[in-house]
């Protein structure tokens, strides 16, 4: 190999490695999310990160603009579609335009029926804050749920504290909940008591922002 060529290769290797290292650090430092709510049909998260080619077509096909694209703060998920349910939940469109637009199979085209979506599940994370559990008849989450009486039901029992009032508790049924997040958006509290979390057992710190 000529001297000039050798030098060229060394510069190239150095440049590429610097770039790769910078990119890696950038992405690692930013991956601060506990979990991300994906559009309907999203395959399992690790698989999703491998398959999604970050084209944004799901987001562009969503008439409600419910799908956002991850930016630097999404870390390793930079450029992937995210739903921020509290701001703008998925409306479970019957024809699932987002799934149809996805070229890569990251949103599984097998999903044909919007109510079969399982992108997460709602959880009453702040039980002590929920107005219904305090004895009021709020039930806004229940009323707005597109799968009313299936994904959320109201269970009533005696208010043990007063001994003569009733508690009407919203209860989520994981087997029917789509994870759309409409309840999370609707919750009247400043910090929602009901939040969509991953299908696996969720932690307390799910709500961000």
């Amino acid at each position: 190999m000529s001297e000039e060529r050798r030098r060229a290769v060394i510069t190239g290797v150095r440049a590429a490695l610097t770039g790769a290292a910078a990119g890696y650090l950038l992405l690692r430092s930013g991956s601060g999310y506990a979990w991300l709510l994906r559009p309907p049909g999203a395959v399992e998260e690790q698989e999703f990160l491998r398959k999604c080619i970050r084209c944004g077509r799901c987001a562009q096909s969503c008439l409600y603009r419910a799908v956002d694209m991850g930016r630097l703060d999404a870390g390793i998920a930079l450029g992937t579609p995210v739903i921020r349910a509290r701001k703008n939940p998925c409306r479970l469109c019957a024809d699932l335009p987002c799934v149809k637009a996805c070229p890569s199979g990251a949103l599984d085209p097998q999903l044909q029926d919007a109510v079969k979506t399982r992108i997460g599940t709602a959880v009453l994370v702040e039980r002590q804050e929920c107005l219904s559990l305090k004895g009021l008849r709020c039930e806004v989450c229940y009323r707005t749920c597109p799968l009313l009486d299936k994904a959320i039901t109201i269970e009533n029992y005696l208010n043990a504290r007063t001994g003569r009032h009733a508690i009407f508790e919203p209860v989520v049924h994981k087997e029917h909940c789509t994870g759309c997040g409409i309840c999370e958006q609707a919750c009247v509290l400043d910090r929602p008591a009901i939040v969509v979390g991953p299908l696996q057992p969720p932690s307390e710190s799910l709500y961000e922002g």
């Binding site: 190239g12 770039g19 790769a20 990119g23 890696y24 992405l27 398959k51 080619i53 084209c55 199979g105």
Partner: protein, 258 residues
């Protein structure tokens, strides 16, 4: 005033691409996606390098992605490979325009080969990080995203590239670092669309080389006397055709391997 026909045509095409990338927010349905994958008037197009990364990661490629990728690969294979860089890529346009700053001409350059190494690094990185590495950090994707979803923090990466290009190393991203450019240079190597050269008309004024940001590719005809530009690094941008005062250069289809 002399009109640079090729550059003019190229700017029109580049700006059309920018326009298309802007349309999804208008809800016209004419164009959807970005340069990683798009639907243009119903025609499904995808980036072959993105498909390659997904193939490496998952062992399969979904049919819509594969179809679109083969179509695009075939198209650029026919039309010069790095024609993507010269005519379509929005980052190519931005860095190209910054080169109008005269000071950039004095900067040092890095060898073209760096792109192939970057391509290898990106493929290896995909396997270790378990994400399509280039699609994730692609500044081309970032520019497209800024156009169709509004600017955001990730534009910092693009700003960093521009900063290096105007202060330190001339066109370092497109010349030496872009894995996608490296990928398309492979297609450019076998493409039938070439810059042809007529030695008898050439006065060796060197204007073509000065107009070209990958001027090394003109060495083959000018120094070694080949009848056309051989290297896949040529973006078929036509700047040399605009610059040549004697018409010694032309754009033509020919048997790719002759």
């Amino acid at each position: 005033m002399k009109v640079n026909h090729w550059t003019l045509a190229r700017r029109v095409v580049q700006l059309t691409v920018i326009g298309l990338l802007l349309t999804p927010c208008l809800g016209w349905g004419l164009f959807q996606g970005n340069l990683q994958s798009a639907s243009l008037l119903g025609l499904k197009l995808s980036d072959p390098l993105a498909a390659l990364q997904v193939l490496l990661l998952t062992g399969t490629v979904a049919l819509p992605l594969l179809g679109g990728a083969l179509l695009v690969l075939g198209g650029y294979g026919l039309l010069g490979g790095k024609t993507f860089c010269g005519w379509v890529c929005p980052l190519g346009l931005v860095t190209d325009v910054f080169e109008y700053l005269p000071s950039t001409r004095q900067l040092r350059i890095w060898p073209l080969r760096g792109k192939m190494i970057a391509l290898l690094v990106v493929l290896l990185l995909s396997l270790t990080l378990k994400i399509p590495a280039f699609e994730t950090i692609s500044p081309i994707g970032i520019v497209s995203r800024a156009l169709s979803f509004g600017p955001a923090s990730d534009l910092l990466l693009v700003a960093a590239i521009l900063l290096v290009e105007v202060l330190l190393v001339r066109r370092f991203w497109c010349r030496s670092l872009c894995p996608l450019g490296g990928f398309y240079s492979l297609a450019g190597r076998v493409s039938p669309l070439r810059i042809g050269y007529r030695a008898e008309a050439c006065t060796h004024c060197d204007r073509c080389r000065r107009s070209c940001f990958v001027f090394e590719v003109l060495d083959a005809p000018l120094v070694e006397g080949t009848s056309h530009v051989v290297s896949g690094e040529c973006t078929r941008c036509g700047a040399c055709l605009d610059a040549c005062p004697t018409g010694a250069l032309n754009m033509r289809f020919q048997h790719p391997l002759k």
